[in-house]
């Protein structure tokens, strides 16, 4: 089916919440840095993963596992061990970024379905087809840097299913190659599994505003009524040439409800919702809205229009000051 709804699950409660509210599939990670949301206390141990799979499969839904950080040679077994566990548990697909790990997975478990993670950073059909030819990947999650006509061009030239991000926090989108936070912390998200390690983050309410620091480096100072964002280096405000502003990017959230008819038309296989770090309340709210929207567009694509109630609900949940269609929509092109 086109436009499968893929929702985030940081815990078993979130997984059940997503499924109860209409997710076609959920994605999750194990409790270590083998995935890109390696926060303390988040994610699944083996027993929870097994219970999540049982819950999903009984209801005809699927569970995907993000194994999308890059293994280091001295801890290689942690990543292959995670593939072993995924295969043993009967995970419906593993989402991988590292070609070495893909080779391991395809050799050891030829039946295991492989998805190419957004962290793999494949933006052309040549790159997507390369992963197909060598590792038999069945789906690719495209980085959020392509316009919809560019996405359509990829879809036309590959038989790999294409998954797009539909909603959630945006970053600088140098996916799989971003080293910004290691400038402050010595750890990059690609191997440590988190942009700003919580142990390095400090929040402080001061008379001049709410300050966020990463390993002592001031990222931002929010005025009294300004919306706050995640404490990542890419979203900070810095003094450059005598001016203080979002020197890298402004914190915004992606919201592509408006583009659903086009995504359906060009044959997008699945829409991914960001936010495994968020709580079950977020998962419930966002899944409910997207389920309703996807059902509506499938029923009547020509007459589809997001309702103000959906947009209000999503706006409330978002990081930063505004929503954007991201790179998908480039009207000047």
């Amino acid at each position: 089916m086109p436009l499968d709804l893929i929702c985030p699950a940081g815990s078993l409660v979130s997984l059940k919440t997503a499924i109860d509210h209409g997710a076609d599939a959920v994605y999750m990670g194990f409790r270590d840095n083998t995935n890109a949301r390696a926060f303390p206390g988040l994610n699944f141990d083996e027993a929870q993963a097994a219970e999540g799979l049982r819950y999903a499969h009984e209801r005809g839904r699927r569970v995907l596992l993000a194994l999308n950080t890059y293994p280091q040679s001295d801890t290689w077994q942690r990543w292959t061990g995670a593939v072993d566990r995924a295969a043993k548990l009967g995970i419906d697909a593993v989402i991988l970024a590292d070609p070495g790990l893909m080779r391991y997975a395809v050799r050891q478990y030829p039946q295991l379905r492989l998805h190419l993670s957004v962290q793999g950073s494949a933006t052309s059909y040549e790159a997507v087809n390369f992963y197909r030819e060598h590792f038999g990947i069945q789906r690719a999650v495209l980085p959020r840097v392509l316009s919809l006509p560019q996405v359509e061009n990829v879809v036309k030239h590959t038989d790999v299913e294409i998954e797009l991000f539909g909603f959630g926090g945006l970053c600088v989108m140098v996916e799989g190659r971003c080293l910004l936070s290691s400038y402050c912390t010595g750890e990059s998200p690609n191997s440590a599994g988190v942009c700003s390690p919580p142990k390095a983050v400090q929040w402080m309410d001061t008379p001049t505003g709410l300050e966020s620091r990463l390993n002592g480096v001031l990222l931002d100072r929010y005025g009294k009524n300004e919306k706050a964002g995640y404490p990542t280096l890419c979203k900070g405000r810095f003094e450059v040439g005598g001016e203080t502003y979002y020197a890298i990017e402004e914190p915004t959230s992606l919201n592509t409800l408006d583009l659903l008819p086009e995504m359906l038309k060009i044959g997008i296989a699945a829409i991914k919702i960001e936010g495994r770090q968020r709580s079950p309340a977020y998962v419930a709210q966002v899944t409910k809205v997207w389920r309703a929207a996807i059902d509506a567009v499938k029923e009547n694509a020509a007459g589809f229009k997001p309702t103000p109630a959906w947009q209000a609900e999503l706006n409330k949940l978002s990081e930063g000051q505004s929503h954007t269609l991201g790179a998908y929509h480039r009207p000047w092109k």
């Binding site: 409660v13 926060f39 303390p40 206390g41 929040w203 919306k227 706050a228 079950p280 419930a284």
Partner: protein
């Protein structure tokens, strides 16, 4: 729509009380009402950590630690301070709002050890709401169900 939890006049009265009795009262109440549900979690890694909950609109500061036997009032410097209004704390407890949502809109402030804050948040998020409701005293469970469905 939820109404303010405590009338303003009562709030002003509470704000004038010293902080030790409310912390003690909070710990006693939490042990009686919440601990049966919370004791299923693994608090061992968090032994000795000190928390403060600041209920801004009531001027209340509740200081405590959570050990193997439950909540205990504490007067030492907190490792983690969470501030919000009574209504927002209730929305969080009822899982009607996501803490990040409240945080982005500046309704919730977390100060101190960020990692500890995330560990506690993720620990509480992992609680199965149905199991919690079963372990709450009946009147509280009914109130919580009303709040979650409101």
């Amino acid at each position: 729509m939820l109404m303010p939890v405590v009338p303003t006049s009562l709030g002003r009265l509470i704000a004038r009380l010293p902080s030790a009795p409310p912390s003690l009262a909070f710990s006693l109440a939490a042990n009686r009402l919440l601990w049966p549900a919370l004791q299923t979690l693994d608090w061992q890694p968090l032994a000795g950590r000190r928390y403060a909950i600041r209920v801004k609109d009531l001027g209340l500061s509740l200081r405590f630690a959570v050990g193997q036997r439950g909540f205990a009032p504490d007067s030492g410097a907190p490792d983690l301070t969470i501030s919000a209004t009574a209504r927002d704390f209730l929305l969080l407890l009822a899982r009607r709002e996501d803490p990040d949502t409240l945080f982005f809109s500046r309704r919730l402030v977390s100060e101190g050890d960020t990692e500890l804050g995330l560990i506690v948040k993720n620990l509480l998020d992992a609680l199965d709401p149905d199991a919690v409701l079963q372990r709450l005293p009946a009147p509280l469970a009914r109130a919580a169900q009303r709040l979650m469905a409101a």
